[in-house]
């Protein structure tokens, strides 16, 4: 089997400062990789390099494309990267405002990716949008409302629906529960776990919240000062941390 995503010796500097250094890993189809670390550890830099938002200084990011098999996304044209970004990839931002069009209805938000890849039947687009609102537990009666009128949790669920509607093969998530209340977080996590298991999603999730990775991630990478200090199966890393920093991280939060 071919890994869906193969990352080799990825490095990114900001001037003299190291963003992330020499990161390598493979993500297999159906697998969820968690990346944890405190702010400034380089985990968001890494995610943005993987998703093509930032250009790394060195390394390769091979994605197993449908047509041509593994290809280095850094060698792709901007047009190819944008096509991937609206078909096989999805990116869930921490702040739903960054991932939604706030002046477009919920239905239009979910339908945009369908229309971007050529859907031209209004009724079908609307039916799919309704179906996805249901799946993320938003009342279908809100289909024509703008997300401005939604709560933070609803906005985040709408962002997830908007991303998953084209059946992406790889989902990047940047602190998906970051800005939400604890009770809202729990519901969202529950929903995400259901979607991940049902759809067999492959995902890379960046978070500082160990509860998120405990619930969602099969494997875990721990980052500190731009470097990966430990990686392995999630339970293994969280229950038997080897690196001093991981031990500190695990002991500093309530067990879940």
């Amino acid at each position: 089997m071919t890994p869906l995503l193969q990352v080799e010796n990825l490095s990114k500097h900001y001037g003299a400062h190291l963003g992330c250094g020499d990161v390598s890993f493979a993500l297999w189809p159906g697998e969820v990789m968690g990346i944890v670390g405190e702010s400034g550890s380089g985990k968001s830099t890494l995610l943005n390099c993987l998703a093509g938002h930032l250009r790394p200084d060195a390394g390769r990011v091979l994605f197993d494309t449908r047509e041509d098999g593994p290809r280095d996304i850094l060698g792709m044209t901007e047009a190819e990267r944008r096509w991937l970004a609206r078909t096989d990839w999805a990116f869930v931002h921490q702040n739903p405002r960054d991932g939604l069009r706030m002046n477009v209805s919920a239905g239009g938000n979910v339908g945009e990716r369908l229309m971007a890849v050529g859907a031209r039947h209004y009724g079908d687009i609307r039916a799919q949008a309704s179906d996805w609102l249901e799946r993320v537990e938003i009342d279908v009666g809100r289909l024509d409302d703008r997300p401005r009128a939604f709560s933070g949790g609803m906005q985040q669920r709408l962002q997830i629906a908007r991303n998953l509607v084209t059946g992406p093969r790889l989902v990047f998530m940047d602190e998906p529960t970051g800005g939400l209340d604890v009770s809202v977080q729990a519901r969202l996590l529950d929903l995400l776990r259901g979607l991940v298991r049902r759809l067999g999603l492959s995902a890379v999730i960046v978070t500082h919240d160990l509860a998120v990775v405990r619930l969602l991630a099969d494997r875990l990478m721990v980052m500190k000062d731009g470097r990966v200090v430990e990686q392995g199966l999630t339970d293994q890393v969280l229950d038997d941390p080897q690196h001093a920093y991981t031990q500190l991280l695990v002991s500093s939060v309530l067990q879940v």
Partner: protein
């Protein structure tokens, strides 16, 4: 007017314009940046169209200028007089006799023929402008055919109004590639853009863009399969002067008691029908 070159612009400027026009013809629907000159009429009053016309004019040409479909609206008169003064070309009000027609907001009712050039005055050439104000971003969107957002806007119209609520400047797709603003013509005129035997040139002076539809270019108005584009106009009205029911009509308020009448916006078309004694439905 010996102080000015033929058709006002100096030859170097015309050469620059012609290069831009040729590029535009080679890439139908693509907005070619050009170095727009200050003209002796204000930006927004047809400077783009005037520059394109000036670059195309030769002494043998016969020029027609319309605004809102009419030859005798003030700005059409002003532009026509300008070219009479600086180029001394023949002018006409007859669509069929013109070799170059400069227009604002209409396409003549009389079908154009091969060899004619129709020059549109364009205020805002960028069809994505009101979705994305930044030029840097819209140019990338065109380059990468990233047009999902445009379709979202039409989706939103249907979700809210039950139909695509655009009456003029209705966006089109050219040869399945570039999305293009047809200038503020009523959507009634959109079908005339498609597969026209004439060369259609679009000039936006203030925004420094020229684009083109070479003869027989495929031009499709954006729509949905289940909400197809229709080139509608007011139903059940006919021209009070010539009786046409198929031409585009202007509404004229005739008194202060709510009286209204409808007349053809294309004055040449209407006058020709009146002269021929026709007050029945046009074919």
């Amino acid at each position: 007017m010996t102080a000015y070159n033929f058709a006002y612009l100096d030859e170097a400027t015309k050469r620059m314009l012609r290069r831009a026009i040729l590029k535009a013809v080679a890439i139908p629907g693509y907005q070619v940046p050009f170095s727009s000159r200050e003209m002796p009429m204000p930006y927004g009053w047809g400077t783009g169209g005037v520059q394109v016309t000036a670059a195309c004019l030769v002494p043998e040409d016969t020029l027609k200028v319309i605004d809102q479909g009419a030859d005798d609206t003030t700005n059409a008169v002003s532009i026509r007089k300008f070219f009479q003064r600086v180029a001394d070309v023949a002018v006409t009000e007859r669509t069929a006799q013109a070799s170059i027609i400069q227009t604002r907001h209409r396409i003549p009712e009389t079908p154009l023929i091969a060899g004619q050039i129709l020059v549109f005055q364009v205020p805002i050439p960028e069809p994505l402008r009101f979705l994305e104000p930044r030029e840097v971003e819209t140019r990338v969107m065109h380059a990468l055919e990233d047009y999902g957002l445009m379709q979202v806007r039409l989706y939103e119209d249907i979700a809210r109004h039950g139909e695509i609520a655009r009456a003029y400047a209705y966006p089109v797709r050219v040869e399945g590639r570039y999305i293009m603003d047809p200038s503020p013509i009523p959507k009634f005129d959109n079908p005339k853009l498609n597969n026209s035997p004439a060369l259609q040139l679009f000039g936006a002076g203030r925004e420094c863009r020229i684009y083109a539809l070479p003869p027989f270019t495929r031009v499709e108005s954006l729509d949905f399969d289940d909400y197809p584009f229709s080139a509608t106009k007011a139903a059940g009205q006919s021209c009070a002067l010539c009786g046409s029911t198929v031409s585009y009509l202007d509404e004229v308020i005739t008194d202060d008691a709510g009286g209204r009448m409808f007349v053809c916006s294309d004055t040449d078309y209407c006058a020709a029908r009146v002269a021929a004694g026709s007050t029945e439905d046009a074919a």
